[in-house]
């Protein structure tokens, strides 16, 4: 590539200029693309699988909901242990060598799943429910070790839980007040009340769905539905779409990395990269590749490829003879 600045008249000296109607071309393009888009819209419509709610989740898979809620109460869920930007945990914090951008970013959307997803909604639901009030009082009054003991036993029992008449039934055991608390939370969720409570703040208008989405993402219901639609990370999900529609096919390279080693390895990665920090490594790689694309005109080899592989002879194949016509 030449860095020389060309005077336009000099640049086109000896080049024949022919009439070309740019405005007509744009109008024709508008008309043709408009017709194509209208036909595709009328015939194929567009994807719109309805959103899930905590209510629909609790009704569709009560055991998964209660298992997730028990994990939130125990502080063992992905969200509870996540780290920045939600809390001070470290469960989902990624770093690569000297790069610790997630820690550098800090906590900016504070989320306390134990309190916000479980305890606070139950406190609001205890009005007029003496059994729940007593259970909460028992839970509040218990030592941390006792709570952990109840939750540990209850969580293990949930592995064999069954749903009967809208309730989650586990084998008998010493779980303290936890089963009743979970039963009431399930009831609130099934009624649709928990959807509102998780969005609630001291403001009337709400547009932030961080809490309910984090709660739902901790469970297996949402990811199960995504798996059915081939939307998960290990299914090239970023470039897929619900239904029989094309998705974000332009993300093919971004999603490709997640399908190959070392980005899909749980351990034994390469150069400090494995599945645990794959997101950060992939973003860094894509950033470098994007910069390479931006600076193609300055990168030897990459900028010379069009000369070495002469596709340009097809683009301009009819014009070589025309270039040799003598000047006036």
């Amino acid at each position: 590539m030449s860095r020389r600045h060309w005077d336009k008249a000099t640049y086109y000296r000896g080049v024949r200029m022919v009439p070309y109607d740019l405005v007509k071309e744009l109008v024709a393009a508008l008309a043709i693309t408009g017709v194509i888009v209208l036909v595709l819209s009328a015939v194929l419509s567009s994807p719109d699988v309805p959103s899930e709610t905590i209510q629909s989740w609790a009704r569709a898979d009560a055991v998964d909901f209660v298992t997730t809620a028990a994990g939130e109460l125990a502080g063992q869920s992905d969200s509870a242990q996540y780290g920045p930007p939600y809390n001070d945990g470290s469960g989902a914090v990624q770093s690569w060598g000297p790069l610790h951008p997630q820690e550098w970013g800090g906590v900016h959307q504070p989320v306390d799943p134990t309190q916000q997803f479980v305890v606070q909604p139950l406190r609001q639901a205890q009005v007029g429910d003496s059994e729940l009030a007593a259970s909460l009082a028992q839970y509040d009054g218990a030592a941390d070790a006792q709570r952990a003991d109840w939750l540990d036993r209850y969580t293990k029992a949930l592995a064999d839980a069954k749903e009967q008449d809208g309730k989650v039934v586990v084998s008998s055991g010493d779980y303290g007040p936890v089963p009743l608390m979970m039963d009431r939370l399930l009831g609130v969720a099934r009624s649709g009340g928990l959807d509102g409570l998780l969005q609630a703040s001291d403001k009337f208008y709400q547009t932030d769905y961080t809490r309910p989405l984090l709660f739902m993402a901790d469970g297996g219901h949402l990811s199960g539905l995504a798996d059915e639609q081939k939307l998960t990370g290990d299914q090239w999900g970023m470039m897929n779409e619900t239904g029989r529609y094309p998705g974000q096919a332009w993300l093919w390279l971004y999603t490709l990395w997640y399908q190959v080693a070392p980005f899909n390895r749980d351990s034994g990665g390469f150069l400090g990269v494995d599945a645990a920090n794959a997101d950060l490594a992939v973003v860094v790689i894509m950033l470098i590749l994007t910069l390479a694309l931006v600076f193609v005109p300055f990168i030897p080899g990459l900028r010379d490829l069009p000369r070495w592989i002469p596709v340009h002879r097809l683009i301009w194949r009819r014009d070589r003879a025309a270039a040799e016509v003598p000047r006036r």
């Binding site: 024949r16 393009a29 419509s45 959103s51 002469p310």
Partner: protein
């Protein structure tokens, strides 16, 4: 159409049939653009002879006749010198602008116009409208398919410009702005997918948060915050894409279409402006 799509599984590659069809259509269009004759392109014999006579200068408007000492006058003079209308809207092009490959750019702009028009209507009626009315769903479909067309033809345009080395002879920044449009378009589409308010939006937000948080960007860009994503999608990002496209078109018009690789000017023909 709302049933899960069939997928092709080949080794570690898993691709939906709709995506495969879309990519196949893209490749087919590119090959056809290379091999099909451009119907309005005239043969060498039919072309007029070369005319190097400089075009007569346009009559100076009255406003430009006076010395430009004010800031307004200086700005007007600068714009007149750099971007005269004859350069912005020329009615003549070099003889070699006669291939379907040259059409990809203008089709991308046409698709962007439909994206913006349908997006403005969707934004006017609010984010719930298209879920609850047939008219809204149809408008969303127009938005969806025009976005797909925008990306298809933008990528084809980039392929065409790459294989023609369109950055030559002082056009590197034109290429660079084009790539930035592509990247900004991807971010705009991403926020649009998150702002859909359906299952797809929920899953993309929940899944994407880890990559965004892992880079530290999640501290100020929260995909789970619908309000933030919707605002970015309908105001800031489309404004950015549109302004960048305007800049890109002005760059193309200012510098003109690059000469064919096999018909480059001799180095001694070059002069600095």
């Amino acid at each position: 159409m709302d049933q899960p799509a069939p997928y092709v599984h080949w080794g570690f590659i898993l691709i939906s049939v709709p995506n495969l069809v879309l990519i196949g259509v893209m490749l087919l269009i590119f090959v056809l653009a290379l091999v099909l004759p451009f119907p309005w392109h005239r043969s060498a014999e039919a072309l007029p002879p070369v005319d190097d006579t400089p075009a007569p200068a346009a009559a100076e408007p009255l406003a430009a006749a006076a010395p430009a000492r004010s800031w307004t006058g200086r700005l007007r003079g600068s714009v007149n010198r750099r971007l005269p209308l004859t350069e912005l809207l020329p009615d003549r092009q070099p003889y070699y602008v006669g291939s379907w490959v040259y059409v990809f750019g203008v089709v991308s702009i046409a698709a962007l116009v439909w994206v913006v028009v349908s997006g403005v209507i969707l934004a006017f009626f609010g984010p719930q409208w298209w879920h609850v009315s047939r008219e809204g769903r149809f408008m969303n479909s127009i938005h969806f398919w025009s976005v797909q067309m925008f990306f298809i033809f933008m990528v084809l345009h980039m392929w065409g410009q790459y294989w023609g080395a369109g950055w030559r002879h002082g056009r590197a920044t034109t290429w660079m702005v084009g790539v930035v449009i592509f990247i900004t378009g991807i971010v705009t589409a991403f926020t649009g997918y998150i702002a859909q308010q359906n299952f797809d939006a929920q899953w993309i937000a929940a899944n994407a948060k880890d990559a965004i948080n892992g880079t530290g960007i999640g501290a100020f860009f929260n995909p789970l915050n619908f309000g933030q994503m919707y605002g970015l999608h309908i105001v800031l990002l489309p404004l950015g894409v549109t302004l960048l496209v305007v800049l890109h078109v002005v760059q193309v018009r200012m510098r003109g279409v690059v000469r064919p690789i096999a018909d480059e000017p001799a180095p001694d023909e070059a002069t600095r402006p």
